[in-house]
Amino acid sequence: MAGVYWDLQRQSRVWFAALGIPALAWIAVFFFGPFLLIVLLSLGWQVEKNLTEWTWGAQFLARAFEYPFPGIYVQSLTLTVTATLLCLVMAYPLCLLLLHLGPRRGRWWMLLLMAPFLINFLVRIYAWFVLLRPEGMIATGLRGIGWNTSLISSKEGVLLGFVYGYLPFMMLPLWSVMERLDVRIVEAAQDLGGSFRSVFLHIIWPQSLPGVAAGSLLVAVPMLGEYCIPRLLGGGLVPTVGTTIESQFLAGVQPDWNFGAALAVILLLGIGGILMVLRKSMQRLLELGERRVDL
């Protein structure tokens, strides 16, 4: 738009752009720096030694594919996928109900649903930890009716934790999309004699797909790197990528930073891959985000 001539506002543009330098420098150092270090470590950077004494190579990355790690990846992946699907199954009917309630009443129920998530994440997971412990209410109750299980230290417990913790991340994008659903189209379809099932299948579901994709993305990606929930509710019996990485850095448990970094790199590549495949959803998220955050 500036045409051939010098942009009269150029001076101020440069000035404002310069404002961002401290922030960009900060991010470059404290955000990308660590990334760089992780990659270097995974490639064999021996931190104590000098540069020339490095044992370069892909041996750490290679080890990440040996037993028992692929199994762990598979477990992480299955947990994540299952949890994402569960989140979807739990969130979708809620959105349908909100659709039924309309904007005014729907907002209150949404608030009610979202309110607990303002509370500290750890506290929420802890609440379930307390309940699920062998001494906790649920286990005792289950034992009472003869079902001798403990949900702690089990995959089911971890799944529960995942779904409970990440539900709002599925709800928000999904609802974002669904509340923009053109009610008139739905009513028109109904008018033409559609039952709920057909209207849902042919109109609501297809139109909600972008929200489904966005929500799944927002839920699955962080889940892959989760450490807290598998550790707390899985009690060490449910190893995931996250817990494995952590154990490599934990002092006193045979730490192997290079290997941990290699695992981290693999995790990042995995996430990067998913994002590549679902690039469109990511763009949509960007737009949704920009429209939503308005004061």
Partner: protein, 361 residues
């Protein structure tokens, strides 16, 4: 026009992408005049104003102010201020702080600022509102504050971008008068952008008619109204009757005969016609001599017709008189009792000499 102009625009061009918004625009604005840019929406008048102000850069062309080339000068260094269409008052500052802003930027002392703000508010009669916030003011009041804010730093040039657009009719008329008075008092040159022709005509010393990025005509209101240079200008300002005429040249004179209705006219501007044998004669609605059928003794020059439509406007009445084939004639007169629908009438041009325009031009 021998005095050096205050502002000189030379061959400005501006396009947004493939759309040409301003094309080869040149304009001269004199010291102390109230100048208007008039045109329909999208004609480029606001863009021109923004270029003058410095918010946009022209693709080609230059701008001079008092002889200095200001084409590349940043907004803040130009000796002119703008009154925005939506006022753009700073919502977080009081009226006083708003008006004081320009003075603060000029690094005036607190005492000077206080005095000059008081003077500016006094000029727009908003002295009592100094401590209020913009949100607490009505539209008209906000507009005055915007005006005071722009005037306080005593710029040489004031730019107004359709400032009265959001006001209701009565308020608008009042403000028009006040603006005109203000301009005379301050002696600042005003450049006023509007699409309302009554407004432009009543307030301006000179105006420019714009359409599709080009200036059609520049002149004082009387010039534009009585001597429009083209059909576009003539139909844009006021109402007009365009009579197709055949032209015959006799020496320096040009005689025209109306093709549809047979009126005989002498043309005032044969030099503009370049020997064309067909032209369009301009007859303004108030330039007809309209009589009741039986009222006239000597019927020479009159044609008979019938009142087809009438619109009562209080101090005048607009009539459409049908003479036969072709379009009905627009007539504006002082209302008289006999003017009724279907009334048979006699009509002829009041002036023998009328202005002609080239057909289609």
């Amino acid at each position: 026009m021998n005095a050096p102009a205050l502002l000189n625009l030379q061959s400005l061009h501006k396009s947004y992408g493939s759309r040409m918004v301003i094309e080869d625009l040149s304009l001269s604005i004199q010291h102390g005049e109230f100048f208007s840019l008039l045109g329909p929406s999208g004609c480029g008048k606001s863009t021109t104003l923004r270029i003058i102000a410095g918010f946009e850069a022209p693709d080609q062309g230059q701008m001079f102010m008092s002889g200095r080339d200001i084409t590349h000068v940043p907004v803040r260094s130009r000796d002119m201020n703008m009154v925005f269409q939506n006022y753009a008052l700073f919502p977080h500052m009081t009226v006083f702080d708003n008006v004081a802003f320009g003075l603060k930027m000029q690094k005036k002392t607190t005492l000077q600022v206080k005095d000059e703000v008081a003077a500016a508010l006094d000029l727009v009669q908003m002295s009592d509102f100094a401590k209020r916030l913009p949100a607490q003011l009505s539209g008209g009041q906000q507009q005055r504050v915007a005006l005071a804010r722009a005037i306080a730093p005593r710029p040489t040039l004031l730019l107004l971008d359709e400032p009265l657009g959001a006001l209701d009719q009565k308020l608008r008329k009042d403000m028009q008068g006040e603006l005109k008075q203000l301009q005379r008092r301050l002696g600042i040159t005003f450049i006023f952008v509007t699409h309302d022709q009554d407004e432009a005509m009543s307030m301006s010393d000179r105006l420019a008619i714009m359409e599709q990025g080009k200036i059609l005509q520049v002149g004082c209101p009387a010039d534009i109204y009585e001597r429009p240079c083209s059909r576009e200008v003539a139909s844009f300002i006021g109402e007009a009757n365009f009579l197709e005429v055949n032209v015959v040249y006799q020496g320096y004179e040009a005689l025209a005969t109306c093709r549809d209705h047979g009126f005989s006219l002498t043309l005032t501007n044969p030099q503009d016609l370049r020997q064309a044998i067909r032209a369009v004669a301009l007859v303004r609605p108030e330039a007809w001599d309209l009589r009741q059928r039986g009222d006239v003794e000597d019927r020479r020059g009159y044609r008979s017709g019938r009142i087809e439509e009438l619109h009562y406007r209080g101090r005048e009445i607009l009539l459409k008189v049908r003479l036969g084939a072709g379009r009905p004639l627009l007539v504006v007169q002082a209302p008289q009792a006999w003017m009724q629908l279907d009334q048979e009438v006699l009509i002829r041009p009041r002036f023998e000499r009328v202005r002609a325009l080239l057909s289609g031009g």
